[in-house]
């Protein structure tokens, strides 16, 4: 019998190695796998490359990883928020590297990793500073930039419900990067609020089929923390 459910976030993250690339879901306060991030901090892996839409707010989540000195590089679209002071200080001190990627390209590069696409041409960013040094090509009279996959060693995603085969469904806009990141990593770990019996998820409505999920761990439900509206983008 296949059972991907692990008893704790600690058990789920036990084998994350130094130097790993970790894809972390979430956009604003929605879909952030907070318990998995906390467990990653406790677990101790160092020299991580973190792929996330942002670079951490205040002192929790990705910011706490930064504060703990575990992050070598951040790949994200929007590192500057009202309370991204931890990232800003480390970046200015040259202690963390930044790869800035347009948000859609960030998501599409992970999708390419999951879908076995070697590289793709996108019009996004053509002629801008973010395309500097990248190969370009005119296609149908329009400038395009060549972009390559972003693969994760580990993906940490937050879903609403999961089953022992790893099937997942999400809740509202908390879905965001989860399904794509799940497809793009060697080891995908999902935290869920509910573990349900096989068959309880409608096969027409499963968003992430279990093939993309390595481990599922249940965390206690809590009210999602609001991020200040000024922490925009």
């Amino acid at each position: 019998m296949i059972d991907k459910i692990l008893p704790s976030v600690e058990a789920a993250l036990a084998d994350v190695g130094d130097g790993s690339t970790v894809l972390i879901g979430g956009f604003g306060g929605a879909g952030v796998p907070e318990e998995l991030i906390d467990a990653l901090i406790a677990q101790g892996a160092r020299e991580l490359t973190i792929v996330n839409n942002n670079a951490g707010n205040a002192e929790f989540g990705v910011a706490a990883l930064l504060k703990a000195g575990r992050v070598r590089k951040i790949v994200c679209s929007y590192p500057r928020t009202a309370d991204s002071y931890l990232f800003e200080a480390l970046y200015r001190a040259g202690k963390v590297e930044l790869e800035l990627v347009p948000q859609g390209t960030l998501s599409e590069r992970m999708r390419a990793a999951g879908a076995g696409i070697g590289a793709f041409y996108t019009p996004t960013g053509y002629g801008t500073d973010l395309a500097k040094g990248k190969e370009t090509r005119m296609i149908d009279g329009r400038g395009h930039v060549l972009e390559h996959p972003i693969r994760g060693d580990v993906a940490l995603v937050k879903a609403e419900r999961g089953d022992r085969w790893g099937n997942l469904v999400y809740r509202k806009s908390a879905r965001n990067f989860g399904p794509t990141m799940a497809s793009a990593a060697k080891c995908t770990i999902a935290q869920v609020y509910e573990i349900v019996e096989l068959g309880a998820l409608d096969p027409e409505c499963i968003v992430t089929p279990g093939i993309f999920v390595t481990r599922v761990v249940k965390v206690p439900r809590k009210k999602t923390t609001a991020v200040p509206a000024e922490a925009a983008a």
């Binding site: 956009f27 604003g28 306060g29 929605a30 879909g31 679209s77 929007y78 590192p79 500057r80 928020t81 991204s84 990232f87 800003e88 970046y91 930044l98 800035l100 990627v101 347009p102 948000q103 859609g104 390209t105 998501s107 599409e108 992970m110 999708r111 996108t122 019009p123 996004t124 960013g125 053509y126 002629g127 801008t128 500073d129 973010l130 400038g143 999400y170 809740r171 509202k172 806009s173 908390a174 879905r175 965001n176 990067f177 989860g178 399904p179 794509t180 968003v207 009210k223 999602t224 923390t225 609001a226 991020v227 509206a229 922490a231 925009a232 983008a233």
Partner: protein, 219 residues
Amino acid sequence: MSYAKLTREQIAARIARDIPEGAYVNLGIGMPTLVGNHLPKDREIFLHSENGILGMGPAPAAGLEDMDLINAGKEPVTLLTGGAYFHHTDSFAMMRGRHLDIAVLGAFQVSVSGDLANWSTGGDAIPAVGGAMDLAVGAKNVWVMMEHLTKTGESKIVERCTYPLTGIGVVKRIYTDLAVIDITPRGLVASQLLPGLTFEELHRLTGIPVLPSGARAAA
């Protein structure tokens, strides 16, 4: 002659009036999100949010916020009856794939040829782009909403952007606190000037020739 500049809400109301029924629209973050407050109640307009929402509704009543249902600016919103959720990659496919009719974006500068600079003022600030570049190249019509002049009185409509570009030749129309300006092959074409504001004055403030709407190009 004197004139009172439009407030942000007034600019937003102008933009809202110009959005036709059935349009698929993204209001970016910041100032353009005000447009949502002014959409005519008798038109069905589909708001898209980059984080996976189509058919986004207004802010919820106080106390009914759901932080799993937020807009691109991370503020709580609602879903209209008939709306749908999807993941980020599908959401940006909608944007990049030219399925949105209109994106309303803020800007630091717009050039006469429609170049857009709205993500970085260069210099020492931490760079951050979000979904701006995807919207700039993706929407069928990119409209800019901004004040006409900087705080120090310089035109934000320029011959050539000096700030880092978001996209090249992408902007079709600019809504400012002074007028509505279309970017056309024959140059800037202005309409809806503030009462009391002359074309000459608008030209002077902009520093670039501005044609009246309906005027013909010189032979």
